[in-house]
């Protein structure tokens, strides 16, 4: 066992919180197995052998975006060919399809559309909910919430409470990217600042909604930037307790405009997920988002401290536009097989991480 692992292990055993310098040294260490084992031990204490997934569907309602983040291959400017916006009936059809397929969640994020008024989103929320009262709606990143506040001239608190009143159940954790300003200036100069992302997220939590926290890694950031990012998430979680899961997103370089960025390699992906588990002691769930990691690495990550494999997804566009070579969707049977094959027990969860069903006997699968 390497020195840094023994030291961190001891700290954790003594009930101490590990420091930013510890996390940095973990990133710099090549003790892949030491890091993985520690993360796996912590995870087993928190979550046993259960691995969560949900049956969901993504709806990326528009790819028009007033921001033009350099890491993004999804965004289009007004007038670009290939740009699209779903109308309400298209969205309802997709929601109905999801519902018929047994989904419990819609995951809805889109670009910051230049023209649509806030009323469109309110109507979207209300109509989906009215037609699918049992579906949980997880929608709108902190970046979109902030944008709605700008276009409606309403305070963020009111935007959140209106959406919640009409049916929003939780928010995803996107738009965090890397929170520090130097990195944001290079990869997403027009996007809200890291401080603002944290501020809006705090208001989301205070408004009674849970969210997740993402981290886009493997582009221009250094290890210290990742640690700084996680430190800010950990501090906010201390304050609000509103984060459900931490989701490291592996940067996909195809069709993006960050010169020479190649995306994280396999070992980096596993280490980053594991260090997330070790450092973020106040997060219950670490998610391997297979769309960006690739299914094989996501499945291997279940041995590196991860306890959530995301969902069936269906029709994901953002990662795939940037060259993700994962499938467009996974059926439930395949998710169960992947989780069991890693020696874990699959548990279907809902958006709020409540257990829907435990699949502890293969013969009971439907």
């Amino acid at each position: 066992m390497s020195d840094v692992i023994s030291r961190v292990r001891k700290k954790i055993a003594d009930g101490q919180r590990i420091g930013d310098d510890d996390a940095l040294q973990l990133f710099e260490s090549d003790d892949l197995f030491g890091i993985g084992q520690l993360a796996a031990d912590i995870n087993r204490q928190k979550n046993g052998d259960k691995v969560l997934f949900n049956v969901n569907r993504h709806i990326n309602y528009t790819n028009f975006c007033v921001n033009q983040c350099l890491f993004c291959a999804f965004c289009h400017q007004a007038g670009d060919s290939g740009g699209y916006t779903y109308n309400l009936s298209e969205i309802l059809n997709k929601a109905a399809e999801a519902s018929a397929a047994g989904a419990t969640e819609l995951h809805m994020v889109g670009g910051l559309h230049p023209d649509l008024p806030f009323e469109f989103y309110l109507r979207m929320m209300a109509t989906i909910k009215a037609n699918n009262p049992h579906l949980k709606i997880k929608a709108f990143t902190a970046v979109e919430i902030d944008y709605f506040s700008q276009i409606s001239k309403l305070p963020v608190e009111e935007v959140i409470s209106e959406l919640k009143r009409l049916g929003l159940d939780s928010t995803p954790g996107g738009g965090a990217e890397i929170l520090c300003a130097e990195v944001r200036n290079q990869i997403c100069p027009e996007k809200i600042s890291g401080e603002r992302w944290l501020e809006v997220t705090q208001k989301i939590h205070e408004g009674g909604l849970k969210s997740n926290a993402t981290m886009l890694f493997g582009h221009v950031e250094g290890y210290a930037d990742r640690v700084d990012h996680m430190a800010k998430l950990r501090a906010l979680q201390d304050k609000t307790g509103g984060f459900q899961s931490f989701i490291p997103l592996a940067f996909q370089p195809a069709n993006t405009r960050i010169p020479n960025a190649k995306g994280p390699d396999g070992i980096d992906c596993l280490k980053t997920l594991a260090i997330g588990r070790i450092y973020l002691d106040n997060f219950q769930h670490i998610k391997a988002y297979w769309v960006m990691l690739g299914l094989k690495i996501a499945q291997v990550a279940l041995s590196f401290g991860v306890n959530d494999l995301d969902g069936t997804v269906v029709e994901e566009k953002i990662g795939h536009d940037a060259g993700a070579d994962s499938p467009q969707a996974l059926d439930k049977h395949e998710i169960l097989r992947q989780i069991r094959n890693a020696g874990k027990i699959p548990v279907e969860r809902d958006t709020l991480y409540r257990q829907v069903r435990i699949y502890d006997h293969v013969e009971d699968d439907d």
Partner: protein
């Protein structure tokens, strides 16, 4: 208990037995298994080098009388898509390989129903003359047997003639799982495991190096994977006093798309952790084979890199051209620079090698 015995045996440089191998494959904690394999890789390759070869697959024909059920590449002779490359087409491909600094030609076809040994002898002679820097690493055992049978030759006569014409080494394809029960299901018309072994033993006796492969993730059991590894280890043991032997072991996973087995197995194949377990196990069981390859072609770059910490020390070839796996719906592509970066970023020293694992260039 068993794990401690295994650790003690590894420390004493004793070979593992079948029961221990099965325990590692099916019961040992995933990370512990990986770490054991990583330690053995380090002992065998203390310099931390990770090698690759610049090569090209040339599939001289897709006509094949085996029609294996896991294969999406084969054709009948009268199919519209059937082809046989001319010498000139093959020379043009090898010329391209040379221009890319390539040193290995991996020529395999289907098991062609009517191509005689003279066709191969003439081809190899001309290739050797035109491209002296390229090693002809070609024809898997099923093809060798076919040529021998077609021309009424013994395997030894056949190999001796091909060797004289320029064949230097033999790839280990077509091993699939070296258990006839599995072969009956997935490749009923292909040679049995003993014939595969015969070709390899005879080639080793002629001083040739060969590789050994394993294709898993279709219908085999863990015991059968273990059996495969032990058969490979035994062949290598018997070859030790001969001039040749296995230079490397390569495992890859069944790729179901477009194959006859896709319907039968619902498109399921080995997961990421299945693959890494088998790589690690092969490093631990095959203590008489120096090199374990990671298969980026079937696993993608990310898993291939992780495999370098699960016992593998080689990334195979750059594969200027690859048709067979691509036909089964997988199209991972990597450049030489990407292979170098992948090894380097994992903390290894990338080296370009010959077919025989001699170092040509250190990066």
């Amino acid at each position: 208990m068993v794990l401690q015995t295994i650790k003690d045996k590894l420390a004493a440089r004793q070979s593992l037995c079948r029961e221990e191998a099965l325990f590692l494959l099916t019961q040992t904690d995933f990370l512990q298994l990986g770490q054991l394999a990583d330690e053995q890789r380090q002992l065998r390759h203390p310099g931390g080098q990770v090698s690759f070869v610049v090569d090209r697959n040339v599939n001289y024909s897709n006509v094949c009388c085996c029609k294996c059920r896991f294969c999406a590449f084969y054709c009948d002779e009268e199919d519209e898509a059937a082809y046989l490359l001319s010498y000139d087409e093959i020379f043009a491909k090898v010329q391209e390989l040379v221009e890319h600094g390539g040193t290995q030609l991996l020529m395999q076809g289907g098991v062609h129903p009517s191509l005689k040994i003279e066709w191969f002898e003439e081809l190899f002679r001309q290739l050797s003359k035109r491209f002296p820097t390229v090693q002809i690493h070609s024809l898997s055992p099923a093809e060798i047997i076919q040529i021998a049978q077609l021309c009424d030759l013994s395997v030894e006569e056949c190999l001796t003639r091909l060797q004289a014409a320029g064949l230097k080494s033999i790839p280990g394809g077509g091993a699939e799982v070296l258990v006839d029960e599995v072969r009956q299901t997935i490749s009923p018309n292909k040679i049995g495991w003993r014939q595969w072994a015969d070709v390899m033993e005879i080639a080793h006796g002629l001083g040739m190096t060969t590789t050994a492969t394993l294709m898993f993730g279709s219908c085999e059991t863990p015991d059968q994977i273990v059996e495969h590894l032990f058969r490979v280890r035994e062949i290598q043991q018997n070859s030790q006093h001969k001039g040749g032997g296995f230079s490397a072991f390569i495992s890859w996973t069944f790729q179901p798309s477009n194959t006859e087995l896709e319907g039968e197995f619902g498109g399921e194949t080995a997961t990421g952790s299945d693959y890494l377990r088998v790589v690690a196990l092969s490093r631990l069981v095959l203590d008489n084979i120096d090199n374990i390859q990671a298969s980026w072609v079937t696993q993608g770059a990310k898993i291939a890199q992780v495999a370098l910490r699960f016992g593998a020390n080689d990334l195979g070839g750059t594969m200027l051209e690859e048709n067979v796996v691509a036909a089964a719906g997988v199209s991972f592509r990597m450049t030489q620079q990407q292979l170098i970066d992948l090894a380097h970023d994992a903390g290894f020293t990338p080296v370009r090698r010959t077919t025989e694992y001699g170092v040509l260039e250190v990066y």
